[in-house]
Amino acid sequence: MELYAHLHQVLKQIDGFIYPNEVELHWGMLVVVYPYLTGLVAGAFILASLERVFNVKEVQPTYRLALLTALAFLIVAPLPLLSHLGHPERALEIFLTPHLQSAMAMFGFVYAWYLAVVLLLEVWFDYRKELIVWSRSESGIRKWLHQLMTLGSTDLSDDAVRFDHTAGRVITIIGIPSAFLLHGYVGFIFGSVKANPWWSSVLIPIVFLFSAIVSGIALMMLIYMATSILRRKPVDMSCVDKLASFLFYALIIDVSLEMLDFIHRLYEAEESIHILSEMISGKLFVSLFVLQLGLGTVVPLVSLALFSPVLHKRALVPVPDELRRMMYWGVAVLIQLGIFSTRWNVVVGGQLFSKSLRGLTAYKMQLLGLEGGLMSGFLLLLPFAILAFLIWLLPPWPEREVTMEEVARARK
């Protein structure tokens, strides 16, 4: 039957013995896209918090952009999950009758908390005065949208603006552990499955979190440089250099954690070591050693260490700004590739070997359909479209920020 054609193909690619029900690989491309997207959210937000809470002045140009990026990606994040469900129309059950023992159910609330209390409130407090001022001087649909978003707020007094600032700071402070929780929790959803020795690990939530930070910072680098080009504005080199140094440190921590997991596994050499070694030296070789470790970690680390002022005020091998920018482009893209491979290696890798520990199967991704490759590609591009809309709706550029004089004028 055509419905099962891809499964019949998998039958021919089985090595060793797998349980008969394991021919169908259940969590495919869509479930790889999901942690990739939530990782970017957590990473972008933590970057934004660097400016707000730790007063890292150099990355100020990216602050509002990072918030909008986090929001755009967070809106898309549940869509791959919805598309993957057998019954998306019943998805609301997770909120109506959540099973408190289930990590997946509790994640629904972590997500809702993060979206409502952290991101939406943060954006509202940060843009509130702009929304009021803009809605008074604009016309047409922008005026109505901005007015709607003020939620009826009209107070432009100094006290109110100061309250906005304090509230934003408090929310960001709450937001940092919330961002940790958001993506660490996704790691826990995998890490708590004792049936799967590739997933079941205490380190998975931490590794997920740091790789999320890495991917988020790299993404912001890309978006900042891309939007600067599109707006024909010069790239602030001190900003991207600072982003690069945070990226470098996050990458060091990330790779240390991954190495720790790897060494620990090899050293303890538990029962699953045989089939897992077979898997990573065979089916997962390219995505693990070439993409995740080689191109996604070692090449960026070496490039940043050599050509970027991450260790000292001057780089070890100083290069002109233009070259460094190109290097940053390359590094950021490779990191996206590397982190996406990381998610692939965890999600798909965990299902390529049998729970009998005696065999390996294959993943046949379909192109069409709600769970196909095209859908995944669409969901990876959608956040950028939403970001473009958000940038139009809430311009994050420093020159569009409302000054205190404009606020005073609007008060009258």
């Binding site: 008969p20 029900n21 993957h84 019954h87 019943r90 099973h99």
Partner: protein
């Protein structure tokens, strides 16, 4: 004749009586519960009437004919394609240089006969046997733990079931099952697995796989009843469960389980 001096140590007597009484109280407090254990006490009505279903598998009796797999698919409407099984049979061939495991179409049409395997060079075989597998209806089921909406649950009589009108098809339970007992039903697009033929056992019948097994390798019964065939089986067989280190507390017990069974 000795004169008994009644005046001597009357205090001791009283102390003796007091200490004797104290000891009585202590004994009752300490030994009372033990006494209660000896006395016949009726279990509460509820405990006795609620069954707790389980199953036993006698590996030494299984001949790998696959009738159980076939009957299960027929009884429960499981698609015949070789990707969906509520129960299946594995064959283990232990050789000097390793173990070979296979389960062609879950064993549903038996296993290839010895004739068909001529010419396969193998090292010296030590022993080989069949192992029927099914959902273990764990008392501490990881699949029930991870279901986000409460669509899979353990019934009051110990059977792990799936609610097809509530399941959202997220497949977390399929990932969480260490035994590979679950699959996604392609028609209802919900998680699916062995139900111990709940619709049969509630009407006093045996599960389909137990009904058709020609060598009585599968035994079904009520773990709470001393009169069930399971109780007799446990008296005569040393039993094990699959993957005990995961602490899932399975209710399917295997006799004759080889260490190589995974």
């Amino acid at each position: 004749m000795q004169r008994i001096d009644a005046s001597v140590d009357t205090s001791t007597k009283r102390l003796d009586r007091r200490s004797f009484l104290a000891r009585c109280v202590a004994a009752t407090v300490a030994g009372g519960p033990a006494l209660l254990d000896i006395l016949p006490v009726d279990a509460s009505e509820e405990e006795q009437s609620q069954p707790r279903y389980g199953m036993a598998v006698d590996i030494d009796s299984c001949i790998g004919c696959g009738r159980c797999v076939d009957a299960c698919k027929a009884e429960n409407g499981v698609p015949l394609e070789p990707f969906f099984y509520r129960t299946w049979v594995e064959r283990y061939r232990v050789r000097e240089d390793g173990v070979e495991v296979d389960s062609p179409d879950g064993g549903r049409q038996g296993f290839p006969s010895a004739d068909a395997e001529q010419g396969q060079s193998q090292s010296q075989s030590q022993r080989s046997f069949f192992v029927p597998k099914l959902c273990n209806h764990c008392d501490n089921a990881p699949c029930v733990q991870v279901c986000p909406v409460g669509a899979t649950f353990t019934s009051e009589d110990g059977v792990v079931l799936v609610d097809h009108e509530y399941c959202i098809g997220c497949r977390y339970c399929i990932q969480a099952c260490p035994y590979g007992a679950r699959y996604l039903d392609p028609v209802t697009r919900t998680a699916q697995k062995c139900t111990l033929c709940y619709h049969r056992i509630k009407r006093g019948l045996q599960p389909a796989c137990v009904e058709v097994c020609p060598t009585e390798a599968r035994i079904f019964g009520d773990l709470n009843k001393r009169s069930s065939p399971l109780a007799r089986f446990f008296r005569f067989h040393k039993v094990q469960v699959l993957k005990p280190h995961l602490n899932t507390a399975p209710k399917v017990f295997y006799s004759g389980l080889d260490g190589n069974v995974s």
